[in-house]
Amino acid sequence: MSKKSVKPLSFQDLILTLQRYWSENGCVILQPFDLEVGAGTLHPATVLKSLGPKPWNVAYVQPSRRPADGRYGENPNRLQHYYQFQVILKPNPKNMQDLYLGSLDAIGIDRDLHDIRFVEDDWENPTVGAWGLGWEVWCDGMEVSQYTYFQQVGGLDLDLVSGELTYGLERLAMYVQGVENVYDLKFNDDGVLYGDVFHQNEVQQSTYNFEHADTDRLLRWFEDSESECNYLLGLEKPLPLPAYEYALKASHLFNLLDARGVVSPTQRQEYIKRVRDLAKGCAEKYVEIDAQIASGAWR
């Protein structure tokens, strides 16, 4: 039976509770990756670790950046920087749905009172050549998580299918706390609000993203990152881990260019393909080296 919590969790307690829950269920708890990414999926702990035959269970918070979603701190639901809580269970255990529902209980969603539904939503991330089948999870009609069984990552078929859970933390917290505006979220139980922490960041970053990002420089950096990635992959002993970081940088730079409105629809497809080619290259080299390590051939 689900527990009823007396007081709704603050934003930070929501994170702590999810971390505790998934730690108790066998996950490695990682800290966020230290580069700008568009989603928790892009963390190498998901993209690269989901490749190859080794089991891997992990959970972490990942700040996610979507420059085009910035609204100068004026929209109650949209942010250019927000948090995702990401769980990877590889291989997906048979009771994964129950584990997931248990996490909702843990954060105080009373499943007797609230209507939880798994609604078809097939996920894909073309910039890293990944796709899977799964659902949006709805709580009383609101999407609270994305739930996916990966089928391909980096354009490669998977040896072991990973189950991926992504919780949109702000949205979930707004639901749990019954708050209509993201900036009104209680960050902790001592009076600090989400707006106190992040409002100014949204204003300044939106201004930068939409008005000041220098497109010539961004384009140059994009191309430099692309070259660096390809260089690292082309080494006699390739270095897919640092190469992947440059693929991520390229991906974020493309997002900034897109937010500046200088990318036409055809160019858009081209950029996405360029980033995907980088990610695919990293995935292929990562798998090769992983296999060499496993067979003892790698030194």
Partner: protein, 700 residues
């Protein structure tokens, strides 16, 4: 007979796949059982969010089969005997019976195939079924190679109450299943279908059959609305979808913030339906939407659904607040002010922007207007405005409202009614079951839009191939055909297509002042393209008419005459089909074929003589000659007036003279002048019939 019960229990199956999957399960299992010799009786299936099931009465064993195989004669060579024994599975020829017939003695092998236990048959069938189930999309899980729509959890496989432990996808079938997650998870151990249904639909809180869930939702929703003095806005598609999202559907009436009622009803309904899967509710007195909605939950909550209703209401408010923001942003400009922005949206990289397309539509709609009885000014204006809403924020967010938002904006500005209607209707028909526009301005713009799309994609050689039709060209062509037929619009297809092509080539308008088009000069290559496109449209016409029971060979027969006015083709085809169904018609066709066959055979020997026939030497020959003369004149007169049935009956007057001619007259006369005249007469039969249709193309 014994009861066979099979259930597949898995994680949530996409709602849109459940119905088909249930039907496939029943079809495939019944077929496989039948193929194995088991008579299947009283089969049924069920499908829902987490399970598919099948039940039938079958015998416990398949029947013994005894068969006989006839062998060689007694005393036949060693080799023949050896072959026979091998084929019949005998080890010694003495195992075969010897029988007598008129010619002597021969061997017969009796082959007995004992029946198999149904349990064994099921053990063979199920893994095959599970490994090859036709899901539109399936997935792997863990390290398995087995694919299912979502992870497979368990199976029940019972024959006569006993478990058949078949295996598939790492799961071994048993006799237990789970019920509703919140209300009766179980597990439930079951002994028969009746027991299964009783437990699941009782304690398990799972309505097994899609029909019963659909009915419960519809009944409860209507009743709940009625109690509140309101009326449900019925929606079959949504009903089917929500019946696939709940095992135990509970209908809840939620409140919507009434300030959102200022939004267009279309926007509210679409937000509810597409994003939230809610039914809209209206006030029966005013017919206007009420500030309520119906949501179908999957459980009975202890607070009577208050928290669920409140949660859903908040989500809807957030959606509608977005929509309201878009609407107020859009309303800052007039519809026409969005025209220039269409230049930023690519229609197709080789065919320019949407603005380019809109400019072509203006020219084409103006040109088409008089032919469809529309005012040319209005048609041109509607064409100019038709695409403008595509760059409004509302349509960017709610793509399905294209056209509708444009109409609403134009109405609000006090725009002309016909033009407003055409802005919405020019996309019609959106599919084979959608209505065809009938208001002349709508017809002009809709035809122009499809004409431009078709000629455009043909000009850049992006035709549909096989099942691939990424630009929806088949749909566009079918829509074009249906609009023309339903509105009885008389057009020369190739001529109109050439105009579309010409507009495309000039990129825009020949004469900017009048907006009128000059007939472009098209080179041979382009003629071939247009010819190919005409063929494509005629193919759509055939598909369309075939669905109405018209024979496709008759369409070919008429189209072969070079007619490309679709209305004329259909009229002529219908008259022809009626005619051929009569006695006269079928006999005439036979006479025609006979004449044509003789001509074909004779033409191999030498050229068929030119020139007109004369009365000839035999009475039947003269009679035919005279009848042909009368028929030709009557047919030409009738065709002139498009009186196709009249033309057919004029043709049918030839039946008797033709029959008599073939009965009494020898075509291949030894007298060469006679033979030549008779061949000329046959040619005359062929040519006269050919005015009505190419009878050569008609089957039978």
């Amino acid at each position: 007979m014994a009861e066979f019960l099979f259930e597949i229990f898995c994680e949530e199956i996409p709602a849109r796949m459940q119905k088909r999957a249930g039907e496939d399960l029943r079809k495939l299992l019944s077929e496989a059982l039948g193929k194995a010799g088991l008579a299947v009786d009283a089969s049924q299936h069920w499908s829902g969010p987490r399970r598919l099931g099948y039940m039938a009465d079958i015998p416990l064993k398949s029947p013994d089969i005894s068969d006989e195989r006839k062998g060689p004669r007694v005393g036949a060579p060693e080799q023949a005997l050896g072959g026979f024994m091998k084929a019949a599975g005998l080890t010694d020829i003495s195992q075969a019976e010897i029988r007598d017939d008129k010619k002597g003695q021969f061997y017969v092998a009796k082959i007995e195939k004992p029946g198999r236990d149904s349990a064994d048959i099921i053990r063979d069938i199920i893994p095959d079924l599970m490994n090859n189930f036709p899901w539109p999309k399936s997935m792997k899980t863990g390290g398995e190679t087995f694919r299912w729509v979502r992870p497979l959890q368990s199976m029940i496989c019972l024959l006569d109450g006993k478990v058949i432990p078949v295996e598939a996808g790492g799961v071994t079938a048993g006799n237990s299943t789970e019920g509703h997650r919140q209300h009766g998870r179980g597990p439930f151990t079951v002994s028969s279908f009746a027991d299964y249904q009783k437990q699941l639909e009782g304690k398990g809180h799972v309505l097994l059959h899609m029909d019963s869930r659909t009915k419960k939702i519809a009944d409860d929703a209507r009743a709940l609305c009625k109690k509140a003095g309101l009326e449900l806005v019925e929606d079959e598609g949504l009903l089917a979808e929500v019946a696939g999202l709940a095992e135990w559907p509970v209908v809840i009436l939620g409140d919507m913030d009434p300030s959102f009622l200022k939004l267009p009803g279309e926007v509210i309904r679409l937000s509810m339906r597409e994003h939230q899967k809610y039914f809209a509710v209206r006030d029966p007195k005013t017919g206007q939407l009420a500030a309520k909605f119906i949501v179908v939950a999957n459980q009975m909550a202890p607070d009577g659904g208050k928290a669920i209703a409140a949660g859903n209401s908040r989500v809807l408010s957030a959606r509608l607040a977005d929509a309201q923001f878009f609407q107020s942003e859009d309303a800052k400009k007039k519809l026409e002010d969005y025209y220039d922005k269409l230049g930023t949206v690519v229609f197709h990289k080789k065919l320019g922007s949407i603005k380019d397309k809109a400019q072509r539509l203006e020219a084409l709609a103006r040109e088409l207007a008089p032919k469809v009885g529309a005012d040319a000014e209005k048609a041109e204006m509607a064409a100019r405005l038709a695409k403008c809403d595509l760059v409004t924020q509302t349509v960017i967010e709610f793509t399905k409202l294209e056209g509708q938002i444009g109409r609403l904006m134009f109405e609000k500005e006090g725009g002309d009614f016909d033009v407003a209607l055409a802005i919405e209707e020019h996309y019609k028909p959106k599919g084979p079951s959608d209505d065809v526009p009938s208001s002349p301005v709508s017809v002009a713009v809709s035809l122009a839009d499809k004409l431009d799309t078709l000629t455009g994609f043909w000009a850049i050689d992006e035709k549909p191939t096989g099942s691939k039709d990424p630009f929806g060209l088949r749909r566009a062509a079918l829509g074009f055909v249906r609009i023309i037929l339903d509105n009885k619009i008389r057009l020369d297809l190739s001529k109109e297509l050439l105009k579309g092509r010409a507009v495309l080539e000039m990129e825009n308008i020949a004469d900017k002042e009048t907006g009128r088009l000059a007939d472009g000069v098209i080179s041979g290559d382009e003629q071939a393209t247009i010819h190919n496109l005409v063929g494509f449209i005629i193919d759509r016409l055939k598909v369309h008419l075939r669905e109405q029971g018209v024979r496709h060979d008759l369409i070919d027969a008429v189209f072969a005459l070079g007619e490309d006015d679709l209305v004329a083709i259909v009229n002529r085809v219908e008259a022809l089909q009626d005619f051929l169904a009569t006695d006269d018609g079928s006999n005439l066709l036979a006479g025609y074929k006979r004449a044509a066959n003789i001509l074909k055979a004779e033409s191999k020997k030498g050229a068929i003589p030119d020139g007109a026939p004369n009365k000839g030497t035999q009475a039947e020959e003269t009679a035919l000659y005279e009848a042909l003369g009368r028929a030709k004149a009557a047919i030409d007169a009738a065709l002139e007036k498009e009186a196709y049935s009249k033309a057919m009956s004029a043709l049918s007057a030839l039946r008797k003279p033709i029959d008599k001619f073939f009965d009494e007259v020898t075509v291949n006369s030894d007298v060469s002048a006679e033979r030549e005249n008779r061949l000329r007469l046959l040619k005359e039969i062929r040519d006269t019939s050919g005015r009505i249709a190419d009878f050569e193309a008609i089957e039978g």
